[in-house]
Amino acid sequence: MEITGTELIRAAALLGAGIAMGFGAIGPGVGEGYAAGRACEGVARSPEHSGLLTRTMLVGQAVSESTGIYSLVIALLLIFFVKS
């Protein structure tokens, strides 16, 4: 199997995209679930505040999501912009 430099670069970029998105998705998933759990507990206790709780949960989750979006951006950049 002959490996040229361009092939090596492209291969590394694709493997890197997988690693970026895969590992990058772990944290937001756990963290957002943690927030959702507490929100469920709060709604169970005082359902009249469910609107407020949902809003707070979504704001917190949006911040937690940001690292997942960075991973997605880097993965897409590696897939589509590293053509060599």
Binding site: G18, G22, P28
Partner: protein
């Protein structure tokens, strides 16, 4: 060393990765459910059989992720024909193993939390068993979806046609497996966490179960988003390269 030998070796490697990592999640999750069931039974021995039934239903859901991994491992060992396959195809088998092996971790652990909370809830309020079990099953279903994504990608990688042997395709199929497999861990655990607290809430305040279900599903949907990104990246790599 012939190509068929290399492909067989990669196939067995994929099977080992699939089942070895795929067993982690269900083991932890089911153990957590059993732990909570034991605690509940110790407190309320009179309702031991209801607690045990809830535990077994919850554990069966947690088990399903590792059953996907078992299916992929058995398919890789017995059903895939290595003769005539290329090295690219062999690396895709390893990618399939990585996808479902790591992909099953989150679903297994995640399903354990609702099962455990449901056991505690049944111990506290045995007459609410039906609504607690319903909430448990809904949340476990959501928590299991990332493992289903991983299973789909694993099947695509196993039965896709990958000709020749070039490094770019090998990296793409491995990367797809890593992306969807690792991407499923966090979402499965996180969704399960939300489901666990929702089951706890239904156990204690059953009248609020509509609001709890709504909040849980919104929270879980956000928590699932990263596994959908991971699925998207995997699909891009499998089909566009």
């Amino acid at each position: 060393m012939e190509t068929a030998e290399v492909v067989s070796a990669l196939m067995y490697l994929g099977a080992g990765i699939a089942m070895g990592f795929g067993a982690i999640g269900a083991g932890v999750g089911e153990g957590y459910a059993a732990h909570q069931a034991c605690g509940g039974t110790a407190r309320q021995p009179a309702v031991a059989s209801s607690i045990q039934r809830t535990m077994l239903i919850g554990q069966a859901m947690a088990e399903s992720a590792s059953i996907f991994a078992l299916i992929v491992a058995i398919m890789l060992i017995f059903m895939v024909d290595a003769s005539g396959a290329t090295v690219n195809q062999g690396v895709a088998f390893v990618g399939a193993g990585i996808a479902i092996g790591f992909g099953a971790i989150g679903g297994g652990i995640g399903c354990g939390f609702p099962a455990g909370s449901a056991c505690q809830g049944v111990a506290r309020r045995p007459e609410g068993q039906n609504e607690i079990t319903t909430m448990m099953l809904i949340s476990q279903g959501v928590s299991q979806t990332p493992s289903v994504f991983s299973f789909v990608i694993a099947l695509i990688l196993m039965y896709g046609a990958y000709e020749g042997s070039d490094m770019v395709t090998m990296a793409a199929v491995l990367g797809a497996g890593i992306s969807v497999g690792m991407g499923a861990i966090g979402c499965g655990i996180g969704s399960g966490y939300a489901g666990g607290d929702a089951c706890k809430g239904v156990g204690r305040w059953p009248a609020n179960r509509g609001a709890i279900l709504r909040t849980m599903l919104v929270g879980q949907a956000v928590s699932q988003s990263t596994s959908i990104y991971a699925l998207l990246v995997a699909i891009l790599m499998v089909f566009l390269t």
